[in-house]
């Protein structure tokens, strides 16, 4: 059963078609890779799904409901969380507070009334934050300012923050950028754990090798259009994909 469906989704900036008539279906429970050279419209697609950018035309359907053009916080409330290509933590908030502000799952909202939720936080909520920190392996750093964390820790915190609202779909925008091999492997393990926990993952990446091992299916974008879709092995052999990656796109090779 599809969890996310994009139907002829388009985004034009003036004359530039950043995303052009994109059709995409992500099945529940899979790790889906969205790859493409720099500037191929991957991040724009994520921003369109999350409501950061207004859609020019087309539809975003999540779990059978149309969420096109919803504001970002309502997209999150629907069950879609994301991370950013360039890490966007709240640098002057502590690690703990970074997770605290992200406790916005539907259960959180229903469970507590306004005053309790905003001004008189319960002990249960604090325990939840601690648990999430534990899971992310950042419990020792709970009182550090987020800006003072190492790069890898910041990535982990951002992932934990995205998970805090217990999303059913997670959009990861180049989570491996800047990581070394060891960290990438750790990330792979983490994604598998999440998958087992029932979270569907869309992994956006421009370095092909990184997504081959972990994804179930892959779609390739170039110039805002989908040029290929299929199993990792098939994508690797696809001529159009190789053409796109080698066809003068300098940015592809660095990791």
């Amino acid at each position: 059963m599809p969890i996310l469906e994009l139907t002829s989704l388009s985004k034009h900036f003036g004359g530039v078609r950043a995303v052009d008539e994109l059709d995409l279906t992500v099945e529940e429970g899979e790790i889906f890779g969205l790859i493409g050279p720099n500037g191929s419209g991957k991040s724009t697609t994520v921003n369109l799904i999350c409501g950061v950018l207004p859609v020019t035309s087309g539809q975003v359907v999540f779990e059978g409901r149309d969420i096109t053009g919803r504001q970002p916080h309502r997209v999150l409330a629907a069950g879609v969380a994301r991370t950013f290509q360039n890490i966007r933590l709240f640098g002057y908030l502590s690690v703990w507070q970074n997770l605290w502000v992200a406790q916005n799952s539907m259960e959180d909202r229903r469970r507590e009334n306004f005053a309790k939720r905003w001004f008189f936080g319960s002990g249960a909520e604090r325990d939840t934050v601690d648990e999430q920190l534990e899971f992310a392996g950042l419990i020792d750093k709970r009182n550090e300012l987020a800006a003072n964390l190492s790069f890898g820790e910041q990535r982990r915190l951002e992932l934990a923050r995205a998970l805090a609202a217990r999303p059913r779909l997670l959009l990861l925008d180049e989570p491996a950028a800047g990581m070394n091999l060891e960290e990438v492997q750790a990330l792979d393990g983490r994604l598998r754990t999440l998958q087992q926990a029932g979270v569907t993952i869309v992994l956006v990446e421009h370095v092909m090798e990184l997504v081959m091992g972990v994804t179930d299916r892959i779609a390739v974008l170039n110039f805002g259009r989908k040029i290929a879709e299929g199993l990792p092995a098939a994508i690797r052999e696809d001529e159009a994909v190789q053409q796109a990656y080698l066809g003068g796109n300098v940015g592809t090779m660095h990791a």
């Binding site: 999350c50 950061v52 504001q71 970002p72 916080h73 999150l76 409330a77 969380a81 994301r82 950013f84 966007r88 933590l89 709240f90 640098g91 002057y92 908030l93 507070q97 970074n98 605290w100 502000v101 992200a102 406790q103 916005n104 799952s105 939720r117 905003w118 001004f119 008189f120 936080g121 909520e125 923050r161 995205a162 805090a164 609202a165």
Partner: protein
């Protein structure tokens, strides 16, 4: 002693003004409209006590609510703009309110005298305090009870999840939205809360100066409103208080003996302070320093 109580009143009212901007600044929005909301509090409360004969407390609450509602309404269009645009938009809005009072004429006859706001000539004889026998000390205590309540509320907010959310929005709006924070609600809420607090300040101002006119609520007052929290630091509410004491207590009152040199020093010291302490007088370093003083033995 009356003088010190009087100074306490001034420091109290300016602290309220500064705190009204503090709330909005926490969400990363620079507002120069606080003088406008302050003036709404002043005019509305004065009309209630002078024209309608109300007691100061309900008048103050109604006036602050009015200012809060107007501020909330400003908050909506302000959502779309940031940075310099917001600075200019809020200046314009504050000036718009000021000019409204400049053109606002409404007088009635009470006990044989005509009272009420009178356009460019202002609104005189707002004498609730002296007429009801409140001494300078009484007024100072009244003001400081209010200041304490506001500071307590904001201090509590700072420590609650709401405070963390305000700061999160201030740091990165997009990230905040993406973790599920309703930007509209937070920003409009902050504006409305700031307007409400400014309204309280304005209501007290009108009654302890007994006379208000539109020129009192110009761009310079709005600038001071944000100067206090910025100079004091946005780390916590005490920064604003420290900055008000620094400006009103030290620069204005303390340096009065310097006569006409005082004003020259005034600007220069602000420039210096911002160069030495760009994150405000109360920042991580000065907090550590003060803690060190008490623990070093």
């Amino acid at each position: 002693m009356d003088f010190f109580f009087g100074l306490l009143q001034i420091i109290g009212v300016h602290t309220i003004l500064g705190l009204s901007a503090y709330v909005v600044l926490q969400t990363g929005q620079v507002t120069l409209a606080q003088a406008g909301f302050f003036s709404i509090g002043a005019y509305v409360s004065a009309m209630l006590t002078v024209l309608a004969g109300w007691h100061i407390v309900p008048a103050l609450l109604v006036a602050a609510t009015a200012a809060g509602i107007v501020a909330g309404i400003v908050g909506f269009p302000a959502l779309r703009i940031k940075g310099l645009m917001l600075v200019v938009a809020t200046i314009a809005f504050g000036e718009f309110i000021r000019l409204f009072w400049f053109n606002f004429d409404y007088q009635i006859e009470k006990k044989g005298i005509v009272v009420g706001p009178q356009g460019g000539e202002g609104f005189k004889q707002i004498r609730f305090f002296p007429e009801n026998g409140w001494s300078t000390l009484d007024v100072a205590i009244f003001i400081w009870v209010i200041v304490a309540l506001i500071m307590l509320a904001l201090w509590w907010t700072d420590r609650s999840r709401a405070g963390a959310v305000l700061r999160a929005v201030g740091e990165d709006e997009l990230a905040a939205q993406s973790v599920g924070i309703n930007l509209t609600a937070v920003k409009v809420g902050a504006f409305a809360a700031g307007g409400f607090i400014a309204g309280i300040g304005g209501a007290i101002y009108a009654h302890y100066t007994t006379h208000i006119e539109h020129l009192n609520f110009g761009v310079m007052l709005a600038t001071f409103a944000i100067a206090y929290p910025i100079l004091g630091g946005l780390r916590n509410v005490f920064g604003t208080l420290v900055a008000v004491i620094f400006i009103q207590g030290f620069l204005v009152e303390g340096l009065r003996f310097m006569g006409d040199w005082r004003n020259l020093l005034f600007g220069a010291l602000i420039v210096l302070a911002m160069n030495v302490q760009p994150r405000g007088l109360i920042d991580e370093r000065s907090v550590r320093l003060v803690r060190g003083l008490f623990t070093r033995n």
